[in-house]
């Protein structure tokens, strides 16, 4: 038994080293690709005539869809912020998914809404609509009250009601910046025939000052947990998504803010109500459908259009959120397993899917097994403490390097956190996240895997504090 354990640990450690080197090589390459892309992006931004998109008749109008379930604290502020968006022609459709709080009442009171008998096309089957509300004073605002069907069902109802060829999904607890629509629509203007979906960057509003539906002053959150998520989001968006987007294998467009061609989404049947991460599932299906049709298409990420959102400020809520995210990823990987290593799906099947299976799905298990194998190796007398410390230092340093690289990308491009103090705090938390936070996230993912196998589903409650003058940490 002892010999078996020793052999197993030896094999496992060999595997870990190869795994570690492969993963970090991929991350490093993604960073390099993102760096080049960000530099190009800065150059392109100089040549961006957003004002002309705003004034042109040739710009496509957009339907903004806001699914809401028990969002009484933020919903009015969110709609107000959307009404101020800098864009020539758009409509806002809020879909109240059977809220039990005052979400609908607050909207009716704030925007002088009343029930209308609107006619719309049911392109995607959804749960029944109880009522449609409109206003004589806010003509571009429609509120749909419907039976509970989840976020996907709410979005599908919004798609059915949408009048325009592009729709933008925005979370009810999010605020999009003035020019976000102009920026996110630009790829559609550049490649109208090929563009299918565009994602924007999601930033963390905790700690920021919000005034009249706008983020008026940007600060890092005062508390540790949201700051750790700031570092994580910077890394995920600025190195991860940019890199995947350049390689034409972007699998995730954040549900908080994405722009889609309506006809393509209707063609794949809209959002999937069976998925826990409807955003990821939709993008995967869009890829699959476009590849199957052998059409030339693009699904891209643009790092400039910004959407601000509240992130969990307790570990309990974070656990629920990450559990759902990881479960959703596993569901999509499992559901579309035929794409894995299938040359028919090009770079998606041959690169993106294997990456997500090997590193995102199995990664947490390997990491946690690694932590268990260390005391075991020590117990069996085969642990070289010096080497272990060196290897651990390398792993931590690499993690820190990647996070600091994301901070660098932020600093040379968008500079949303202008103060020296904010910068210093970001760097400190880039180091700290490797001691505890990362491990906890891995544990959440392992639990999510277990829940996936047990077919547990659901969103869990995400408590919001709401955007106050200064959004809470």
């Amino acid at each position: 038994m002892r010999q078996f354990l020793i052999d197993a640990i030896i094999v496992f450690n060999d595997f870990v080293l190869v795994y570690f080197l492969s993963l970090n090589t991929i991350y490093f390459l993604l960073f390099l690709v993102s760096l080049v892309e960000v530099l190009k992006f800065i150059k392109r931004t100089f040549f961006s005539d957003y004002q002309q998109i705003l004034q042109s008749d040739m710009t496509w109008p957009i339907s903004i869809l806001v699914p809401a379930h028990n969002e009484e604290k933020n919903i009015v502020e969110t709609v107000r912020s959307l009404q101020l968006v800098n864009y020539s022609e758009f409509e806002i459709i809020v879909i109240n998914d059977d809220s039990t709080d005052r979400t609908l009442r607050n909207l009716v009171d704030a925007f002088d809404l009343r029930r209308l008998d609107k006619v719309y096309k049911r392109s995607i089957p959804t749960r029944p609509v109880r009522g449609i509300y409109g206003s004589l004073t806010h003509q571009n605002l429609t509120v749909i009250d419907k039976e509970r069907g989840g976020k996907s069902d709410a979005l599908n109802t919004g798609i059915n009601m949408a009048r325009f060829p592009l729709f933008c999904s925005v979370d009810a607890d999010s605020i999009i910046e003035d020019n976000a629509l102009l920026r996110v629509v630009k790829p559609f203007m550049e490649h109208p025939a090929e563009m299918v979906a565009v994602g924007g960057i999601v930033r963390i509003a905790n700690g920021c000052e919000v005034h009249e539906g706008r983020v008026s002053k940007i600060h890092l959150p005062p508390r540790a947990l949201p700051i750790l998520q700031v570092v994580e989001y910077l890394r995920a968006f600025l190195t991860g998504r940019i890199g995947w987007s350049v390689m034409r294998s972007l699998l995730i467009i954040s549900g908080a803010f994405g722009l889609y061609k309506k006809s393509e989404v209707i063609e794949v049947g809209g959002y999937d109500s069976e998925s826990d991460t409807e955003d990821l599932e939709l993008v995967v299906r869009l890829h699959e459908n476009c590849r199957r049709k052998k059409m030339k298409y693009r699904i891209v990420f643009v790092p400039d259009p910004v959407c601000w959102t509240e992130v969990p400020n307790t570990f309990q809520i974070l656990r629920r959120q990450r559990n759902r995210w990881h479960r959703g990823l596993l569901q999509s990987l499992w559901r579309h397993r035929r794409m894995l290593l299938n040359p028919r799906y090009g770079v998606i099947g041959l690169v993106a899917f294997p990456y997500f299976v090997i590193f995102e799905m199995l990664g947490p298990f390997i990491e946690l097994t690694g932590y268990i194998s260390v005391p075991l190796a020590w117990y069996l007398g085969i642990l070289n403490l010096q080497f272990f410390i060196l290897f651990f230092a390398l792993a931590v340093l690499y993690g820190v390097f990647l996070s600091v690289a994301a901070v660098l990308l932020e600093e040379i491009s968008f500079r949303r956190y202008p103060g020296w103090l904010d910068l210093a705090r970001l760097m400190v938390y880039a180091v700290l996240e490797n001691f505890g936070y990362r491990q906890i996230l891995s544990a959440f993912k392992v639990k999510a895997f277990y829940d996936f196998v047990r077919r547990r589903r659901g969103w869990g409650e995400m408590k919001r504090r709401g955007f106050g003058k200064r959004s809470p940490a």
């Binding site: 040549f47 005539d49 009343r114 006619v119 490649h191 760097m427």
Partner: protein
């Protein structure tokens, strides 16, 4: 004793490899931190310096702009080469708010300070972004000295440079530039087209003449851009061509032509657009309905009522919207459509009557003392009940401030009469 694996030996190739990696990553890490700190610090120093110099030089520029002497007379010291960005920024900002002679004075200053020559040289750069920036700046400077070089660069291999050049020529506003500009519409990107179109629209009727001459030689996408420009300029000269284009073999062109005719707003196009309501392509019919809604005439009301029963939802929606825009007669037509045997048409009419507030005025008539008015309102309500489009009525039956209206609506809807919530 088991054989020791590589990772448990004191010294070995893997051990050295990990150390080498550690050193490499540490070096990279320090490099990144250094770059972040230096770039942030450097940027702040440069910005602070520019702020100081701006405070020192700006009053002189303003005096120059409104004065008559040469620039040197107004400045406390000669301008250093490194201050080009600052000088440009001040003049461009001034140009945005003040027109006329101030722009001319700024242009003279750019020429005398050698900025125009500098960017003309940059226009020949190997780097596309340098050429694009040069074109942009030359356009903002407005120097006619640059016209010839800019026209030559209309054939630049990079689309972004071509668009910048086109824009610069548009800013300089020489008629010489208009023909090359119209040719820039041939660039396939919609993004380029939007920007070039913006410039041509600014040039007005002069560009319409050239576009009409070139139209037949354009590829399909350029034709569509040109049609949009005719619509935006609201050019009467293009009406005849646009009417002909309603019969073009390409459905996209027919649809855009219909839309442009609506934008121009010439009521005599109504009969042509009425014909387009029967087009086999649904989006042409939808655009024709939308366009008819923009014309100040009433002859098309009947055709629009027919379109309310179109098999395509978009056509019905646009036709209803168009009827709403037709004023009183359009509203009467919508009211008449409540009797339509086609449920779709009737439902679309209900929606428009609600959105336009007509239904509210009908509801108010329920309390009218004049019998005929009241009866008319009652008839409309009965039709809504028959169509099962009673969401708004039900809400008003509960919330209307007037008790008599609440009561009448409750009777029509078969509801129990409720007291007003605020009562």
């Amino acid at each position: 004793m088991p054989t020791m694996p590589w990772w448990s030996q004191e010294v070995g190739p893997m051990y050295e490899f990990v150390i080498a990696l550690l050193v490499g990553v540490s070096a990279f890490f320090l490099l990144l931190v250094g770059i972040i700190i230096i770039s942030k610090g450097w940027r702040e120093i440069v910005e602070a310096r520019l702020r100081l110099r701006r405070a020192e030089l700006e009053p002189g520029f303003f005096k120059y702009a409104v004065g008559k002497e040469a620039l040197e007379k107004y400045l406390p010291r000669p301008i250093h080469r490194s201050e080009r960005v600052l000088v440009e920024r001040i003049f461009f900002e001034m140009g945005r708010v003040v027109k006329g002679s101030v722009r001319e004075r700024a242009r003279d200053a750019f020429e005398k300070l050698g900025f125009v020559d500098h960017y003309l040289a940059n226009l020949e750069s190997r780097r596309w972004w340098t050429r694009a920036e040069a074109a942009e700046k030359l356009g903002l400077m407005g120097s006619e000295k640059a016209t010839r070089s800019l026209i030559d660069h209309m054939n630049d291999p990079v689309p972004e440079v071509r668009v910048r050049v086109a824009r610069a020529l548009g800013n300089i506003r020489t008629s010489e530039a208009l023909r090359p500009l119209t040719l820039a519409l041939k660039d396939p990107g919609r993004w380029s087209a939007i920007r070039v179109a913006g410039i041509l629209i600014g040039a007005g009727d002069e560009s319409v003449e050239i576009l009409l001459q070139e139209f037949d030689h354009f590829p399909q996408h350029a034709k569509i851009s040109a049609i949009d420009i005719f619509g935006r300029i609201r050019s009467l000269k293009a009406i005849s061509l646009l009417r002909d284009l309603l019969k073009h073999q390409d459905a996209d062109i027919r649809a855009r032509a219909a839309f442009a005719l609506g934008s121009i707003g010439d009521p005599t196009s109504a009969s042509h657009l009425g014909d387009a309501l029967k087009d086999p392509a649904w989006f042409v019919r939808a655009m024709a309905a939308k366009a008819l809604g923009r014309l100040k005439e009433e002859g098309s009301i009947e055709a629009l009522c027919t379109s309310l029963a179109d098999p395509q939802w978009w056509v019905r929606a646009n036709a209803a919207e168009a009827l709403k825009n037709k004023g009183e007669r359009g509203m009467s037509a919508l009211l008449a459509m409540l009797d339509s045997k086609d449920t779709y048409a009737a439902q679309q009419a209900v929606q428009m009557l609600q959105e336009s507030g007509v239904l509210d005025s009908m509801i108010a008539r329920l309390a009218s003392e004049e019998g005929r008015e009241r009866q008319l309102a009652l008839d409309v309500m009965a039709k809504l009940v028959k169509l099962k489009r009673t969401d708004l009525l039900t809400e008003i039956a509960h919330n209307h401030p007037e008790g008599s209206i609440r009561q009448r609506l409750a009777i029509i809807l078969g509801l129990r009469v409720q007291p007003h919530p605020t009562a």
